[in-house]
Each structure stands twice: as structure tokens, then as C-alpha cells.
């Protein structure tokens, strides 16, 4: 963990400096976490809600952060869990299967006023949405965020080997999907 993060954590755990430190934390991580969440839920409004909930959870539980992992992976872990909980909760509420969830996310994507990619970008996003949940997460984190497998391993609680295999399968499926619709 670098010195800046260590100081930030110490300030966050100090009641007198917590507010200011939290403001700094939000400014540093809000964009990265937003894009991570947005790629999971595919909708700006939902991503905004989840990002707020993520930071509120951070505010409430910073005292329990044991500094075994880096601040960055801890925040990503909370954001990922919040996003998956949101998707699963919606799935339960509307009694839909995983395939139907993928369809709903695809409809969200097509009707999203904040999507400005071209046709090939839309194809790529549709191909990603066809992937199983874990492979989708791994592909987005590796392909777009260029995250290290070691960090991903801490966030997703999965071995590096399994993550590499997931990315390999995901990339293969996406290639096949794109070739198939060309």
C-alpha cells in the first residue's frame, strides 16, 4: 500500500479528519468506480445509485478495514458486490432467469441515451452481455480497465489461474459472436 493511501486511511479512521479525507477519497476514486459499475449494470441511473451506495458503505465500514489489501482493491470489491447485489435483487423481484437478465441489460443498452458507441462498439457490448456473469466481470476488468490479474484475484476472490482461463473463454466467445453476426 502506498504512503498516500495509508495517510488517507488513517485520516478516514480519525473522527476529526474523516469528513475531509472522505471527500478526497471520493474525488480520487469516483470515476474509476463509476465506469466499473456502469459496465456491470449498463445504465447510468442505476450506476449512479450504486456508486452512492458504495461510498456510503465505505463511510460506514472504514473502521473495519484491516489494511490487508490495498484501498483500491477494497473499494472495487465493495462496488462489485453492490452491483451484483443490485442485479440479483432485480432478478428476484421480477422472477427472471439469467438469460432474461441478459436480455433486460441488452434492452437497457439499446435504449441508453448515454451510449455513444458506433455499430461495432454496440456489437462488442452485446457480445459481452452474452457472457456468464463472472466471465463478463473478468473481461471488462482486463480488456477495458487493464487491471492486473493479482488485483482482480483480490477483488473477485478467485485464483489468478482461474481468472486467466475465464478471460480466455470470454475472449473466444466474443470473437465467435462478432464473426457470427458479420
Amino acid at each position: 500500500m502506498d504512503q498516500d493511501d495509508r495517510k488517507l486511511i488513517n485520516d478516514l479512521k480519525d473522527e476529526n479528519r474523516k469528513d475531509l479525507a472522505f471527500h478526497t477519497l471520493v474525488k480520487i476514486y469516483q470515476e474509476r468506480l463509476y465506469w466499473h459499475i456502469r459496465k456491470i449494470v449498463m445504465n447510468h441511473e442505476d450506476a449512479d445509485d450504486i456508486l452512492q451506495n458504495t461510498f456510503i458503505k465505505v463511510w460506514k465500514s472504514i473502521g473495519n478495514f484491516r489494511e490487508e489489501s490495498s484501498l483500491y482493491t477494497w473499494l472495487y470489491r465493495i462496488a462489485t458486490n453492490e452491483s451484483l447485489t443490485f442485479i440479483n435483487s432485480n432478478k428476484r423481484k421480477s422472477f427472471v432467469s439469467m438469460n432474461e437478465t441478459s436480455e433486460i441489460l441488452m434492452n437497457n443498452l439499446e435504449s441508453d441515451p448515454y451510449f455513444e458507441g458506433d455499430e461495432i462498439q454496440l456489437k462488442l457490448q452485446k457480445a459481452i452481455l452474452k457472457l456468464p456473469e463472472k466471465q463478463r466481470l473478468v473481461f471488462n476488468m482486463k480488456y477495458f480497465d487493464e487491471m492486473k490479474y493479482e488485483d482482480m484475484s483480490k477483488i473477485l476472490d478467485t485464483s489468478v489461474g482461474a481468472l486467466k482461463a475465464s478471460y480466455h473463454h470470454a475472449a473466444k466467445k466474443i470473437e465467435e459472436y462478432i464473426k457470427g453476426i458479420e
Binding site: W35, L51, Q52, I120
Partner: protein, 148 residues
């Protein structure tokens, strides 16, 4: 790794860029909106009652399950077969009363009861004495008294 490079050929043709955007000045305003939500959260103090309910939740859940099972089994039985148990008990009591009555009377009284089915004949002490004299020996009576 070569295989991964081969299968990523199509992917490499796609420009790696973020196709999503946000409303104008979203990130500039986010911190202020979050602060408002956080202030609202700080005002919500978890009530004592809620903590007690959380603590008792498993026990309440278990009790509710038992109540539900009881309602599902006992209530339909009671509703659709209300007299089953009562009838059985009444029948048994009536049979026992009838047997006792028959055992306690002598043959003449028994036949007179048969002749008068609607009558309200009752077993008197005299009836009992005459039945005992007629049906039980002195030795048996002595034995019964000794045992009791």
C-alpha cells in the same frame, strides 16, 4: 498464449474506447449529491426496537413456522372432521356405561329392561344385592374385599 492472440484478432480490430458517457458535469456534482445523502444517513439512528427484532428474528421465524404447520394440519382437520374425535369418545363412554349396567344387573332386571326399551329403569341397591347373591359366591366376595 498464441491461441489467445489468434482468437483476439477480431477484438484487436475494434478500437478500445469507452462507448458510454455521463450527463454533463456529472462527476463535478457527484460529491455534493453524495454529501447530502450521507447527511441523511447520519440522521438515521438505528432504533433499539429494530436491534431487538434483529436479535429475535431467528426465534420468531421458528415460532412462525411451527404456527404455520399447526394451522395447516390442525385447522383443516378441525374444520372438515369436527365431530370425529368427539364421536369416538362419546361412543366408547356409552359402550362402557352399557356394559357396566348389564354386568351389574341380574337376569330378571335385564330382561325387564329389554321388554321396556324406552323405560328409565335404574339399578337399585336391592337389585345389586340380589345379583351378587345369585351370581357370586361368598368366597369370591371375601377375596375381592381382601384384595381391595
Amino acid at each position: 498464449m498464441d491461441e489467445l492472440n489468434n482468437i483476439s484478432r477480431e477484438l484487436s480490430k475494434i478500437k478500445k474506447e469507452n462507448p458510454f458517457k455521463t450527463p454533463d458535469q456529472y462527476f463535478d456534482n457527484f460529491s455534493a449529491r453524495l454529501q447530502m445523502k450521507l447527511e441523511a444517513e447520519k440522521k438515521i439512528v438505528p432504533a433499539q426496537k429494530n436491534r431487538i427484532i434483529t436479535f429475535l428474528k431467528p426465534a420468531l421465524g421458528l415460532a412462525a413456522s411451527f404456527a404455520l404447520i399447526f394451522m395447516l394440519v390442525y385447522w383443516p382437520l378441525k374444520t372438515y372432521m369436527p365431530n370425529r374425535q368427539a364421536n369416538n369418545t362419546e361412543t366408547e363412554a356409552y359402550d362402557m356405561q352399557y356394559i357396566n349396567m348389564v354386568e351389574e344387573i341380574d337376569e330378571n332386571s335385564f330382561y325387564s329392561l329389554l321388554d321396556e326399551p324406552n323405560g328409565s329403569a335404574e339399578l337399585t341397591d336391592d337389585d345389586l344385592e340380589s345379583y351378587l347373591v345369585a351370581n357370586v359366591s361368598e368366597y369370591e366376595m371375601y377375596n375381592e374385599t381382601k384384595i381391595n
